[in-house]
């Protein structure tokens, strides 16, 4: 079995893990963000997709690749929803959050 590891994927994953640690460390503060659950969930989906990117180099390349892109897409949708909730028209919490 031939394993294929890409450095950039490892770097992405490491940065993603670093961000997740940062989020965990500042969980209490982040809760004050409006709709913080959506934003954090979006991030988590992307983090999963980065993990899957790395894993697909080892096994089930095709299926994991599908999943990777699917998570990425869902994560982006959640970011869009969060932006709409926070920066969308007439949101009162917007200024307070920023």
């Amino acid at each position: 079995m031939e394993y294929e590891i890409f450095e950039n994927e490892i770097v992405m994953l490491l940065i993603g893990v670093g961000v997740s640690i940062f989020i965990q460390g500042n969980r209490r503060r982040l809760k004050n963000l409006p709709a913080s659950n959506i934003l954090v969930t979006g991030f988590c989906m992307m983090l999963v997709s980065w993990i899957l990117t790395v894993l697909e180099g080892f096994f089930w390349e095709t299926y994991l690749n599908y999943l990777e892109h699917a998570f990425y897409a869902f994560g982006t949708i959640l970011v869009a929803v969060w932006c709409w909730k926070v920066f969308g028209s007439g949101r009162e919490t917007r200024k307070e959050a920023l």
Binding site: F6, G18, N32, H69, T76, W84, F87, L98
Partner: protein
């Protein structure tokens, strides 16, 4: 990232030699990538609309970051569509690295914003606290000039911040010199910091403001004194309270010092902690202050001191006051004195007994008077007894010669009659027959009648006196009395006199009382007899007897509609031998005297309310049963 492109779903050029996967059927990867791209575009639009309004700078950064991400992703898709797969790898690397970094930036930007917001909020809270603190606050530089002052202090002194800032603090003090000296000494490090002291400030309107100043030195990084930070607390109310307290203390002190009574406070060991001038004089201590901390043992004989000590300890232990106890004392000259003393336990704010408060009044004069009165009463009682004895003996012994007078007067009358009968014929024949006849028939009988009448009168008086004197010797047997039965008995016994007088007696239900049955019977017999005796002949006599309980005593009233008693006689009717109409009415004038005498022995009372021509009310008060 081995992502295929959305363009794989459509026709891919045949010349594309680097195609990763054959373009046959549905390509999920391309589908998801398309969704990602569309979602990115939507997000950008939302952010762009927000930016047009009033987005904060950080949101703009987020927007820009996301713009880069979306454009990169679009480029990536384009490259993949164009079939430049080698370049794709590079682009993928760049985008792949950008995405998590963008996330990191987003979170950092928001958190930094939050921290900044928190700092701003804290600063705002601090400023709010500083300005609205319940105490004044200012800072001075090394020259003693005010560099910072809060709103509370400005309001206290009535100045604006502009009027205070930059001016030496002592300019606002009532005692400028003292304030300047203190501030400069502190800044020079001559006075240790941390002291709290009182100072008087002068307000803008000229009024003074007493304050409590707390001082803390400010030091630079090198440890040198860089200024002073002071807190100012308005103590006007406290000062007023202190003044009021001092006034009250002074008032109380003046009051207790000028009281003729001895006032003192002792602690649990019976040491004086407060004493007035009267106590100091009594104990020969000179001033009240010289008594403080001392005990009775330092001034009084041991026997007396032990008694006082025991009394005080008893009051503290039993927690019960000692009221009006009469106790002896000795003044500095050695004169024995008497005091009426009240001792009450003294409690602290927690209710714990910490001593006693004593007030004693000099009752020596009263005691002397009481002693004299006791002696007088004893003498009086002895004299009364002696008088009663004389009265008894006199009235008893006088009756014997009186009986002789009566007897021999009768004998003399009989002898005169015999002599007259024997000499009647000879007298008629003689020259002096008329004078002798007159003497025998008129003068001698008249003289003898006078003698006998007077003797009877005297006998009656002596009998009355004897009865009166015997009253003091008869034992009183106090019992619960049914007054209804007694008064029924009295009226029955006097039924004949009542009928003879043509009177009516109305007897109501009477309350019980305590007394001697026979003597109480005599009281009401005498009063009823009196009422019948002095009825008004012009109208039918009505005697009304009723009673009630009043203040623990049974009060009875015998009311008649007789002739009444003139006010000037009302106090005399109870005196011995006093009679209202001696010529018209029979009697010795002893009835009411006996009534009062009996009532005296029963702890009773009699009084009369009367109006001439309308009638009288005789009230008798006796202990209630």
């Amino acid at each position: 990232m081995h992502a295929a492109s959305v363009f794989d779903l459509i026709a891919i050029p045949a010349s594309n030699v680097n195609q990763v996967e054959p373009s046959t059927g549905f390509k999920p990867v391309a589908f998801f990538d398309l969704i990602t791209f569309v979602a990115s575009i939507v997000t950008l639009i939302i952010l762009l609309k927000g930016w047009k309004r009033d987005l904060q700078p950080k949101a703009k950064y987020v927007f820009l970051g996301f713009l880069v991400f979306t454009l990169s992703y679009g480029l990536f898709l384009f490259i993949e569509w164009a079939g430049i797969t080698k370049a794709l790898d590079r682009a993928e690397d760049i985008i792949g690295a950008l995405v998590p970094m963008w996330w990191a930036f987003v979170f950092y930007a928001f958190l930094a914003g939050m921290v900044e917001e928190e700092l701003r909020e804290r600063e705002s809270q601090f400023v709010e606290l500083f300005d609205n603190a319940p105490i004044g606050y200012h800072e001075l530089d090394t020259q003693g000039r005010i560099t910072r002052v809060n709103r509370t202090e400005l309001e206290m002194l009535g100045y604006t911040a502009e009027e205070m800032l930059g001016r030496p603090v002592w300019e606002f003090s009532a005692d400028k010199k003292k304030s300047r000296d203190t501030v400069t000494s502190k800044l020079a490090g001559d006075i240790p910091p941390g002291r709290i002291f009182e100072r008087t400030f002068r307000r803008k309107d000229g009024n003074t403001l007493p304050v409590l100043v707390g001082v803390r030195l400010l030091r630079g990084k090198a440890g040198n004194i860089s200024g002073i930070r002071s807190t100012i607390q308005d103590i006007t109310k406290r000062k007023k309270a202190e003044e009021l307290l001092a006034e009250e203390h002074n008032l109380l002190r003046t009051l207790i010092d000028n009281m003729p009574d001895n006032i003192y406070v002792k602690d649990k060991e019976s040491r004086f902690i407060v004493a007035n001038i009267a106590v100091a004089h009594l104990m020969g201590a000179g001033t009240p202050e010289s008594l403080i901390g001392k005990t009775d043992f330092d001034f009084y004989p041991r026997e007396l001191s032990e008694k006082y000590y025991a009394d005080g300890q008893k009051v503290m232990q039993t927690e019960r006051p000692l009221v009006g106890q009469e106790e002896p004392a000795v003044d500095p000259e050695g004169h024995r004195k008497w005091f009426s003393t009240t001792k009450v336990p003294l409690r602290d704010s927690h209710g714990k007994i910490v001593g006693i408060v004593g007030i004693s009044r000099d009752i020596t004069a009263r005691k002397l008077i009481e002693t004299d009165r006791e002696k007088l009463l004893q003498t009086l009682a002895f004299k009364n007894k002696e008088l009663e004895s004389i009265l008894y003996v006199t009235s008893h012994d006088l009756r014997s010669p009186l009986v002789n007078i009566q007897g021999f007067s009768s004998e003399l009358s009989r002898c005169c009659d015999l002599i007259h009968a024997a000499l009647r014929d000879k007298i008629k024949a003689s020259d002096i027959s008329e004078e002798v006849e007159t003497a025998f028939n008129k003068d001698v009988p008249e003289a003898l009648e006078y003698i006998l009448t007077s003797a009877r009168k005297m006998d009656s008086l002596l009998s009355g006196l004897l009865r009166l004197s015997r009253l003091g010797q008869v034992a009183v047997e106090i019992e619960r009395l049914d007054m209804n039965a007694i008064l029924t008995d009295v009226t029955k016994n006097m039924e004949f006199q009542v009928k003879e007088a043509g009177a009516t007696v109305k007897l109501e239900t009477l309350p019980e009382c305590l007394g001697d049955s026979s003597q109480i019977n005599q009281i009401f017999s005498n009063i009823l007899d009196n009422a019948l005796k002095y009825l008004d002949e012009t109208r039918p006599g009505v005697i009304h007897i009723y009673g009630k309980i009043e203040n623990g005593r049974s009060v009875y009233c015998v009311e008649d509609n007789g002739v009444g008693i003139a006010p000037e006689h009302q106090n005399k009717i109870f005196e011995v031998f006093h009679r209202l109409e001696p010529d018209k009415k029979k009697g010795e004038g002893l009835g009411l005297t006996i009534v009062r005498r009996i009532l005296d022995r029963h702890n009773g009372k009699i009084w009369v309310e009367s109006e001439p021509g309308k009638g009288s009310k005789f009230y008798v008060s006796l202990p209630s049963a």
